[in-house]
């Protein structure tokens, strides 16, 4: 069985800017491939090439064994695309948006209406079906956009940052939809800036940075590299920071990073938490703050690359969890 996606050495330059500097990736049929990376790392560019919207300057990519450059039309028959920004026609109603696409895909008038109604129901948009999409909330528009990409029952679905800007409830709903699609046998390529999202959904993860793949593997393999959680301790007396750092290092067995007021380290086994508390107590250190949390993308990047996730425009990558200055 061929892979759903195979890309080798993809290169894309925009004038002076190199967006992709040789990206290799494969998506297994029926699996979810997570493409994780900060702003400007090349996620959208990768998706656009794989969706036949952009020609690579180098390398090649195939979908179901079909070259995306030489057989774009055949590739388009297999894919669905939900871009980074909801691409629905604001002036058309939800129904009209979906019927238009169904008709373009060759559905009969009645078949198109039925398919539209079915998808609107599935995405809880039935009540808003006949309203212009410009009256929809951001979350509703995203759902309509996803519905639009499913009209033709694609066997391969691209989701470019599908949950960015969604509230936690909508995010969970969308995750359920993706899981449902995977149950139906759809292959999904999902880009995200959130490690947690990749962890929740992806079978395989590719980490992009500056247009290059800097790491790949299953979520577990990735977390083994980066630590699945971060332990952060802030002593009441900043003068005790060194002692705290040594204790944290002994208990967790991983490298400790200290800031002005706190010491932190990657943790793979949450059972170390009581142990740290006991040891600190024995040492007579008063704890002002102690947290155990998921690592931010920055921390994953730090672990993987030795530098934080610097974006093309210099700002740090957003992450759902709190960011620390390590």
């Amino acid at each position: 069985m061929t892979d759903a996606i195979r890309a080798e050495g993809l290169v894309k330059r925009f004038k002076e800017q190199t967006a992709l500097a040789g990206v290799d990736l494969t998506a297994r049929k029926g699996a979810v491939l997570g493409v994780l990376g900060p702003n400007g790392s090349g996620k959208t560019t990768t998706v656009r090439i794989l969706a036949t919207l952009l020609r690579p300057d180098g390398g090649y990519a195939e979908v179901d064994g079909l070259d995306v450059v030489r057989n774009p039309h055949e590739v388009r028959r297999k894919i669905g695309l939900t871009g980074q920004y909801a691409a629905v026609d604001q002036d058309l109603s939800g129904t009209q948006n979906l019927v238009l696409i169904a008709r373009l895909l060759g559905f009969s008038r009645r078949g198109a209406r039925a398919r539209a109604a079915e998808l609107l129901a599935r995405f809880s948009l039935t009540d808003a079906a006949d309203r212009a999409a410009k009256t929809y909330s951001g979350g509703m528009r995203r759902r309509l956009d996803l519905a639009a990409s499913l009209v033709g029952r694609p066997s391969l679905l691209y989701l470019d940052e599908p949950t960015t800007g969604l509230d936690p409830h909508s995010r969970n709903e969308l995750w359920d939809v993706v899981r449902g699609l995977v149950d139906d046998g759809v292959t999904v390529l999902l880009t995200t800036q959130y490690l947690e999202e990749a962890d929740q959904l992806a079978d395989d993860i590719v980490v992009l940075d500056h247009g290059k793949v800097i790491s790949r593997g299953t979520p577990d393999e990735l977390k083994a590299q980066a630590g699945s959680q971060v332990l952060q301790v802030r002593p009441g007396d900043p003068g005790l920071l060194d002692r705290v750092g040594r204790i944290v290092e002994q208990v967790t067995g991983s490298e400790v990073r200290t800031s002005e007021s706190s010491a932190g380290a990657s943790v793979t086994d949450p059972a170390v938490l009581p142990e740290v508390v006991r040891r600190l107590d024995e040492a007579g250190v008063a704890i002002a703050e102690l947290t155990l949390r998921k690592p931010s993308l920055d921390e994953v990047f730090l672990a993987l690359t030795g530098h934080t996730a610097e974006t093309a425009d210099g700002a740090g990558a957003g992450a759902p969890t709190e960011r620390t200055s390590a």
Partner: protein, 275 residues
């Protein structure tokens, strides 16, 4: 939306088998569907109808009643002179809308959606432009309706008026490829609007639309004589009011061919390459 995640397979109708190749018939169907989309937008945006019809109406009223007396001694004579000119000017200005709409679609990602579907590549462009032809026609009808209302009775009769409308729509069809090209080339809808307007003004005023070029300074007259808008307006005048038709019509057709010859390939190429 969680409840029915597996209802996918029990759909009323499975996805139809797609034709392996886009035949001209299928391409025409896709173009027609996207024309429908363009027309739905007119209905959804009442302000667009206002822009397409109200502006020309203002132009007719203001030019006839403000300048008429001064220009020709009585406003009725000036009315008969400028109605073809205003129709041409309004339609030519409306072509900017084609580029703006295309650019908006690109900016909103809607073109990406269409381009990721297995449909005729030409369809989004064809749909946009056919939909706009309907808009242009609406503009012509609005100008003629208000002209009739203030007593305009073209000697060319219905046939002449329809023929004149056909000529200006043909020219607009040629010009909208230039607008489409700009819409595909420039970065924002705003830029398209500004760039388009900048040279629509000299084009529509530096012509026989509002003033006979014989009464312009010689250099301006020279520009007006070669300006395609003069040829279009003169053709319309000939058809609606009587007068020479063949020569301005021939020039109009030459310009139509030139505009399409240059900008149709440029626009379709820009459309294919637009990143």
């Amino acid at each position: 939306m969680t409840a029915a995640t597996t209802a996918e397979n029990t759909a009323a109708e499975a996805a139809p088998v797609l034709a392996p190749r886009v035949t001209p018939v299928i391409a025409a169907r896709h173009g027609a569907l996207l024309t429908w989309r363009s027309l739905v937008k007119i209905k959804r945006n009442p302000e667009e109808i206002l822009g397409l019809t109200f502006m020309p109406l203002m132009f007719v009223a203001l030019f006839v009643f403000v300048f008429g007396q001064a220009m020709m001694g009585d406003w009725q004579a000036y009315r008969d002179f400028i109605i073809p000119g205003i129709a041409a000017q309004s339609v030519i200005f409306a072509t900017i809308g084609t580029g703006v709409a295309l650019n908006t679609d690109i900016e909103k990602g809607i073109f990406d959606r269409f381009r990721s579907l297995p449909i005729a590549r030409s369809a989004p462009l064809v749909g946009a432009i056919l939909g706009d032809l309907v808009r242009y026609a609406l503009t012509v009808v609005a100008v003629l309706a208000v002209a009739l209302l203030i007593g305009y009775r073209p000697s060319g009769g219905l046939l002449g008026v329809v023929a004149a409308g056909g000529v200006v729509l043909l020219f607009a069809f040629a010009l909208c490829w230039l607008s489409a090209f700009m819409g595909l080339l420039l970065r924002t809808p705003m830029a398209v609007n500004i760039f388009g307007s900048i040279w629509m003004f000299p084009l529509t005023f530096g012509a026989s639309t509002f003033v006979d070029p014989d009464r312009m300074p010689s250099w301006m007259a020279a520009f007006a004589e070669v300006n395609p808008v003069t040829h279009v307006t003169d053709t319309m005048r000939g058809l609606m009011e009587g007068g020479p038709v063949l020569q301005p019509l021939a020039w109009t057709l030459v310009w139509v061919a030139v505009l399409i010859g240059i900008f149709f390939p440029l626009a379709t190429r820009a459309y294919r390459n637009r990143a």
